[in-house]
Symmetry: C2
Subunit: 243 residues, 2 copies
């Protein structure tokens, strides 16, 4: 019997929400879920919508329900770097500090579920399991950030692009990219434009485009319509991603 069929006492809002299973809210009891839901807002945003500005006082945190949120940092002269991508059911926000240091922006159309920072911080104090989940998520984000530091600092443009495609593929379908299934093909939509991929990989648009063309020419991927990509052979892509 599935957990999510038990919806007695659970807010309608949360009934089919992924964050209740794999995300933060999994740490909450039904009662706590009801309490949190009282100050919760579910909202949709188109891509490009800035959810949290760089300098904003962050008064609300969010869970990503669908779509992709990009976290960016910008130098004073406009150079930009994407420092994280949040997929469902990731948490977005910086607890224990009111200014954010990163800007959060919808990369695709997204749905998020947001709640006041105060509410979360209060509930964290009375429910250690919540802080535990947050620690787990933060540790995972740190692992990811460090993986990308290696890519940014030490990989070539070709390896960066291959690594990026692999990361996206992995997020779309974790099973297809590991172990036995790694020799099958996999199709997906890129959640980022060429320019955003460039900002993620520390490259220019042109270099990203050229590397994608090379992968296409080499028969590693097919590009159906700039956003839709088919990886013909995941293991061959992985071989180009650099150890």
């Amino acid at each position: 019997m599935r957990d999510d069929i038990h919806t007695k006492g659970i807010p309608v809002l949360c009934a089919s929400c992924e964050a209740r299973h794999r995300g933060l809210c999994g740490a909450l009891s039904d009662d706590q879920l009801v309490e949190l839901a009282r100050s919760t807002m579910r909202q949709k945003a188109d891509d490009g919508k800035v959810l949290v500005g760089d300098e904003d006082e962050v008064e609300r945190f969010s869970n990503v329900l669908s779509g992709v949120v990009k976290l960016t940092k910008t130098l004073s002269d406009g150079r930009q770097q994407i420092v994280g991508l949040q997929f469902a059911p990731d948490f977005v926000g910086r607890p224990f500090r009111s200014e954010s240091s990163v800007s959060a922006e919808a990369a695709t159309g997204v749905e998020v579920c947001s709640f006041p920072r105060r509410t979360l911080e209060r509930m964290m104090a009375e429910q250690p399991g919540l802080e535990h989940r947050l620690l787990q998520q933060t540790l995972r984000e740190l692992d990811e950030a460090r993986d990308w530091m290696v890519a940014l600092g030490r990989k070539t443009a070709a390896e960066k692009v291959a690594s990026f495609l692999l990361m996206i593929a992995q997020n779309i379908d974790p099973a297809a990219t590991e172990g036995q299934g790694a020799d099958r093909s996999q199709a997906f939509d890129l959640p980022l434009s060429r320019g955003e991929i460039a900002d993620f990989l520390g490259l220019t648009i042109e270099t990203v485009s050229r590397q994608l063309t090379r992968l296409r020419t080499a028969g590693v991927i097919r590009i159906e319509n700039t956003r839709h990509v088919v990886v013909e052979d995941v293991s061959r892509l992985a071989a180009r991603a650099g150890g």
Copy 2:
């Protein structure tokens, strides 16, 4: 009256330890400190000593008491990237996962205080304050990692080297680099060799050396003996670090 003069009931080991104030152990009661100290080892290591190998099962966590620990990741062909520098009283280890994914190595001579992962994980379960401290530290590391992602992806070699010097200066003396004191000079020893700086900044040894020479020629820094650096004017260095 100073806290650290109260040493009644506190293990000798911990009496003068920074981790008890600014670090993890600050979350512990005297009794808990005693319990942790029972399975604690204080150890010195020379620079170059590998504290935690890449693939090791990590059975112990540590606090850095003095010196600098570098966290590195290595690609299969040997390319290396430093993904973090831990200063006293930082925590070293990856809770909730037995393999580490990063290697921890003494960059300078270091003193660390280590304890079994089991002990910490047990104490975390019964003392939420401990998990809170760990979350704070992890969030800070994540902020730092993301700052460096911007440097790695978007800054020029000159900006990277200036940013690095500034970061070190900040760690040596937080006061001297911010606000009013930013126009004064500051001297310190680099905790890393040229090769390590290169691995931190995603550059080659030669490029790091050339950029340091340029800063010296421009009168921004003096280099006394390859390791010892005097920043003549911190704000002038900051101007070269890229907004």
